[in-house]
Symmetry: C2
Subunit: 403 residues, 2 copies
């Protein structure tokens, strides 16, 4: 992509109302724009980052048998009434009436809607297990929406649902998803902990949260030295003084919901023995837009964002410093790298070197390549995480990018 | 994918309330499920078809410089009020209030929201042109929603928006998008016409609709023998008797909106001459879910759906007829085809041959492969569009799939 054509251009200043780092940097660098409090447009570079996050999630969820689909966002009151959540989750649900006075809720999650689908399609133990997921929009009427894209009134969620013939099968799958989630957050490069927690409006059972350690987190989790799993305050046992604590940001959660939903919604199947039994149910969420914001919170410096290779909007940021003899070098490198399959942002704008270098650090692509009169037939290669630059041949640059 | 694990299984009967072919066949074959009138879950196979449609659209829109992004679905009343469409489009908009009595509309389109973004980001002619698009959910309060997935209250839309410094640049781009749309519908395999039409709640100018000829269409378009472009009734000129007509389904539309939106929303830029000018604006829509439904309307027989290679959920439907000696042949073919990059649905279920063949025709994957005792070391190859089957070697099967 030629940067002269990239929409939109970067901003010199962060928005005045921005309090959080992710809000300031993602808006200034042109990754997102605020429509209203808690509501964000993913601009082209932000959309690319979220697509890369989604692809990592998709690969690991497919690997545990998840089948991707897409469910509606406008839900009838009748279905939400069956579990009592129309009233119980009233505070966070957006509700509306149509012109015929029929009542609806906007999706804040999809358990009831998935259960409605399951009771229509599952009749026998032979139809189980089922593992289905989608990436879709969630709406939550958050009174406070000041953490940039970390806490939105409208946001993207990957939600996976699994249905089983018995508790053993559910819990085996639950552990598989826990492992898949660990792989996802490891691939994304986070320093995270798994915390045992209570289930809120979802379930009375214990659940697990995936928490990224960060000073700006709204949560606090606790763990004992040597323990692999952490806990949140509600499920802490024994002497609080024995625990270490941390501020953290929740990026994923998994819920072994049991038969709460299926019993209330009468989702029964015929088991091997001929008996009618309720479906065992689990749900598993990750917020990809929150993941993007969390990454920026934990990976930036005073100049801008520092993306990892895995989720960077481009592989390379290429710039040519204009001179009499150097013109046209960048275009050749751009074409060659594109042919090799690299995704290159080429700053072809007619602006000062200072502005170009400022934008490069602000946007935070992992590798910066500079050509100018001074570089001769070499290319100046610098990583966003390093202060050191090196003069390399094209072949050596290509080799390092392939690493 | 092993069919024993595919969610959900096919249904023996179409839903009782289904009137249209796409409703009957897509539900029976397990591509979609109705949550409520006009509201559909895309089940895994339906999701795959729509993703393939989206990919064709994405490639052609990227080729004319479109940049993909993602915009919010919940919109503030204040912005919709600026153009008067909060009232003008009242009938089709879903509206709601939050707990603080702030009013919102659900996205039925995004012109105002895009214009709000443009006025925040475009200041100079140097920032133009801009071409941005997304695949996102649209909500329309349709009183009548009986045409299956052709007319939904909630549906997927690819909407592209372009912004320009002057009318000439807008109209040049408009013609480029018209060509891109023709490429898209040609790649999708439709028999379509481009019809000149009026703009409804979008614009007072002429617009163009992409109409697929079909007996079940809700529209009627007219054309003269030899004319490339058709017209709709509102813009027909001269003697009606000179025109041929057709029932048709609208699958795309393009709107040269001019400066209506930018003037009302005060989206001005500084032109080359230093003057403040309103942004010239266009919008361009395609409904991928409607495209899927339209395909089924125009491509089916009394046994089921007939997918094209371009948008089929799988490349191949493989089945083994059980016998003493034949067991295990299918698995080897399945593994080999997968390794070669083909997407195979393998019917590994323990059901009768009749049920397997019935499902194969119902689901409508382009190529059916059968192995049994009778086929020896060959594979029986049959296309969904043909009654004739042939015994072929694996290599010949692979060669035909690669064609």
């Amino acid at each position: 992509m030629r940067q002269s054509q990239l929409f939109p251009k970067t901003k010199k200043e962060a928005p005045k109302d921005a309090e959080s780092i992710n809000h300031k940097l993602l808006v200034r660098a042109g990754f997102m724009d605020q429509l209203m409090a808690g509501s964000w447009t993913l601009l082209p570079m932000g959309f690319k980052v979220v697509q890369k996050i989604n692809q990592i999630i998709r690969e690991e969820i497919n690997a545990v048998g998840g089948q991707e689909m897409l469910m509606p966002l406008l839900h009838p009151k009748t279905i939400w009434n069956e579990t009592g959540r129309w009233d119980k989750a009233d505070e966070i649900m957006y509700k509306l009436k149509d012109s015929r006075d029929k009542e609806y809720a906007l999706s804040f999650t999809h358990e009831e809607i998935v259960m409605d689908l399951l009771r229509k399609t599952i009749s026998s133990y032979k139809d189980l297990p089922v593992s289905i997921y989608h990436f879709s929009t969630k709406f939550r009427n958050e009174l406070r929406a000041k953490s940039g894209i970390l806490r939105g009134r409208e946001f993207m969620m990957k939600d996976l649902y699994s249905a089983h013939a018995n508790e053993v099968d559910l819990m085996e799958y639950y552990e598989k998803v826990k492992v898949a989630y660990s792989k996802i957050f490891t691939r994304l490069g986070f320093n995270f902990k798994i915390a045992k927690a209570s289930g809120g409006v979802f379930t009375d059972k214990f659940t697990h949260e995936f928490q990224v350690l960060s000073d700006v987190g709204e949560d606090t989790i606790y763990w004992k030295e040597g323990d692999e799993e952490a806990v949140n305050e509600e499920v802490m046992e024994g002497d609080k003084a024995e625990y270490k604590s941390a501020k953290s940001i929740e990026v994923g959660n998994i819920f072994p919901l049991g038969t709460f939903y299926s019993e209330r919604m009468r989702a029964y199947f015929t088991d091997r023995d001929g008996g009618k039994k309720p479906i065992w149910f689990g749900s598993y969420g990750i917020g990809p837009t929150r993941v993007m914001g969390t990454w920026v919170e934990v990976s930036h410096d005073d100049k801008g964002i520092i993306w990892s290779k895995q989720i960077a909007p481009y592989d390379v940021h290429l710039v040519e410093l204009k001179s009499d003899s150097g013109e046209g070098k960048a275009e050749k490198i751009y074409d060659k790298l594109k042919q090799m399959g690299f995704d290159v942002l080429w700053d072809d704008r007619d602006v000062s070197a200072g502005e170009k270098f400022g934008d490069i650090d602000l946007i935070g692509i992992p590798v910066r390549l500079v050509v100018s009169d001074k570089t001769g037939d070499k290319i100046e290669h610098k990583e966003r995480t390093s202060d050191k630059s090196e003069l390399l041949s094209f072949e050596e640059v290509a080799r390092r990018l392939q690493e």
